[in-house]
């Protein structure tokens, strides 16, 4: 099994990239579980026909700790990809980070991993590692590899740099390993060169370049991934290449 956490600045395209990656991996014959770790709970939307699934915390809120069942939080989307959303507290109150931890604990208690039997788990994590909860996907026993989605924009690269520092700070704890970046291009001038310059400082390679393309928007408008909506497009090919590359750089656990 491979366990991969996808981090990156908010709004950089993590969920779009992760969903397309999940769909491409599924097309390639892998059993995939995608876990959205953002209180917005919209990571897997394009795998489930644009419908938002019930999050673990929503289900907990509704059914209570004792009444929760695996089928309340586990859903299958395109190509049989298993979809889970951790969810979060009521906006403005509660503790989103602790919510992620609780969602992970509940998934284990419910035997979610035994039910899905995934070959690949993708953790799609909110923006920066702002507190312990958002480091949960890279703690011992969870993701083994961390991939960062970035563009050539300064703030995205700054966030990438922070995430790499956080991951490396946890090196002695046996947490996940930083394994490179996915360049989700925004058509910034000299974009690849700018990203490469940052990588010269923080380490790692550009695993794949995802060009900016209207196919992504077109597919999203239909509530789908590019892989599902436009399987023969150039962009679909890009995501399939990304999937192959991800399988090369990540490790079996």
């Amino acid at each position: 099994m491979r366990k991969i956490a996808i981090y990156g600045k908010g709004g950089i395209g993590k969920s779009t990239t992760t969903s397309n990656l999940a769909a491409a991996l599924s097309d390639a014959g892998y059993r995939v579980l995608q876990i959205g770790c953002d209180p917005k709970a919209d990571s897997t939307k394009n795998l489930t026909g644009g419908k938002q699934i019930s999050s673990v915390l929503d289900a907990l809120r509704e059914k209570g700790e004792g009444g929760l069942k695996a089928e309340d939080v586990l859903f299958q989307g395109y190509g049989g990809v298993w979809c889970v959303e951790a969810g979060g507290p009521t906006p403005g109150i509660g503790c989103a980070g602790r919510g992620i931890i609780t969602a992970f604990e509940k998934l284990e208690e419910l035997g979610a991993y035994e039910i899905c039997k995934p070959d690949v788990i993708l953790y799609d994590v909110l923006g920066d590692v702002v507190c312990g909860g958002f480091a949960m996907p890279i703690r011992g026993g969870y993701a083994k590899n961390v991939l960062i989605v970035t563009s050539g924009e300064m703030m995205a690269l700054y966030a990438a740099s922070n995430i790499v520092s956080a991951v490396e700070n946890f090196g002695k704890r046996g947490y996940a390993r930083y394994s490179g970046v996915i360049l989700n291009a925004r058509n910034v001038p000299d974009e690849e060169m700018l990203v490469q310059k940052t990588l010269d400082e923080i380490g790692g390679d550009i695993l794949s370049i995802i060009p900016r393309d209207s196919a992504v928007q077109e597919a999203e408008n239909r509530g789908k991934t590019v892989i599902e909506a436009l399987p023969d497009s150039e962009m679909a090919l890009c995501y399939r290449k990304l999937a192959a590359r991800v399988m090369e750089v990540t490790e079996e656990v």
């Binding site: 980070g97 507190c131 312990g132 703690r139 011992g140 002695k172 704890r173 046996g174």
Partner: protein, 390 residues
């Protein structure tokens, strides 16, 4: 409001059980809390604390430490203490604040182990579970980390039969005397003690745990460890603790059939205590009478070792309702429970339990083995029979 403790004290939580399980191992135990949890353990839940040399520390977690994530400060503190104490291991125990903010105790332990070279563990105790769960988690983690493969140690037995005793916790048994007498009883039955979890436990004993021919689970905190060793090493187990003269226990060790439990009926005996101890007292009563005996547990009823009519008593309200229900003519329970018994014509027999009343009644703590326990049960049965006839 129904879960409030109005008259009864709160019961020993998981971090106390974990600390008690680690007490004899020669390690450093860091309770990650502001000080109340450590104080609760050392001042109330651990009968052996005063006068002991066990290295149980409070981390002194403060507001800014929680906000800023000052894990390094605590790791450095543990490392400094380790330089002076040369411990066998270092353990971080959680409490409510680390639970709420999601401190990664296992990550802290991993970092401490890299820096010190000493085996380190993080236990995710939260204060929200009972003591037996904390002790159980410790036993399992120690076995997974230290126990050596069976092939390497099952040699040179010289005809001896080895026993692991799982569930010698001071929070249940009150004193080391009870644990020593239980071990002596096992040895008199022709077995050698291979490991005693947890009073008297050493890392060497944990390492050779797979050497046992049988595991004896003397309290519920040892049950998961017994199941783990059955699955991992094929070691069978029995759940019982010697009480009174110990003859029933010896019969069980010899593989004889257990006593058949009489059916449930009104005006019987209710025993509220640690489940396996209470079960063993029930069997003792059943060996010479047909008085129905019900076991009640305030620490969650483990259905693996419960009879159908046994009682889960999770709140003071449920305890109050059970003891004042009129169903039981004799009640054996901690003296604190006697304080909320309002019904007349019920005989109350004091059976202190550290898990509930801490050190309050240590001077009246029951000896598991011996004449006094046998007499206590015989008198309880007599009282129940009198009420039944009356």
């Amino acid at each position: 409001m129904s879960v409030l403790c109005i008259d009864l004290p709160p019961v020993a939580p998981d971090y106390s059980g974990a600390a008690s399980a680690l007490f004899d191992l020669g390690g450093i135990v860091v309770m990650h809390d502001a000080s109340g949890c450590t104080g609760n353990y050392t001042g109330f839940d651990e009968p052996r604390w005063f006068g002991s040399r066990s290295a149980v520390y409070c981390s002194g977690l403060r507001r800014m430490d929680a906000i800023l994530g000052n894990d390094k400060k605590f790791i450095d503190g543990a490392l400094m203490a380790a330089k002076d104490l040369n411990p066998t291991m270092i353990s971080y125990l959680g409490s409510p604040v680390p639970m709420v903010i999601g401190i990664d105790l296992e990550g802290m332990a991993a970092e401490t182990e890299v820096a010190s070279g000493i085996p380190c563990f993080g236990f995710n105790t939260t204060g929200q579970h009972y003591y037996d769960r904390g002790a159980s988690d410790v036993f399992l983690k120690l076995l997974r980390y230290f126990a050596e493969p069976i092939e390497g140690i099952k040699t040179n037995r010289q005809g001896k039969r080895f026993v692991n005793v799982l569930g010698l916790l001071s929070i249940d048994m009150g004193s080391e005397k009870n644990a020593e007498e239980i071990c002596a009883c096992i040895e008199e039955a022709g077995f050698s003690i291979n490991a005693s979890f947890a009073m008297g436990l050493t890392l060497e004993q944990v390492r050779r745990a797979a050497n046992a021919d049988i595991n004896i689970v003397t309290a519920r905190c040892g049950l998961d460890a017994a199941e783990y060793m059955k699955k991992r090493y094929g070691i069978p187990y029995i759940c019982t603790v010697p009480v009174g003269g110990g003859s029933l226990f010896r019969k069980k060790l010899a593989g004889e059939s257990p006593v058949i439990q009489p059916p449930e009926g009104k005006r019987g005996i209710l025993i509220i205590h640690e489940q396996i101890f209470a079960n063993s007292l029930r069997e003792l009563a059943a060996s010479f009478s047909d008085i129905p005996v019900t076991v009640g547990s305030m620490y969650g009823l483990d259905t693996r070792i419960a009879m159908e009519h046994d009682l889960d008593l999770p709140t003071e309200k449920s305890v109050r309702e059970a003891i004042n229900s009129g169903r039981y003519s004799v009640i054996l329970a901690d003296p604190e429970i006697g304080g909320i018994l309002k019904r007349e014509n019920v005989t109350f027999v004091e059976l202190p339990h550290v898990a509930l009343s801490g050190r309050l009644y240590l001077d009246r703590y029951p000896s598991y083995l011996g004449e006094s326990m046998e007499t206590m049960i015989r008198n309880a049965v007599l009282a129940a029979q009198e009420r039944q006839q009356g």
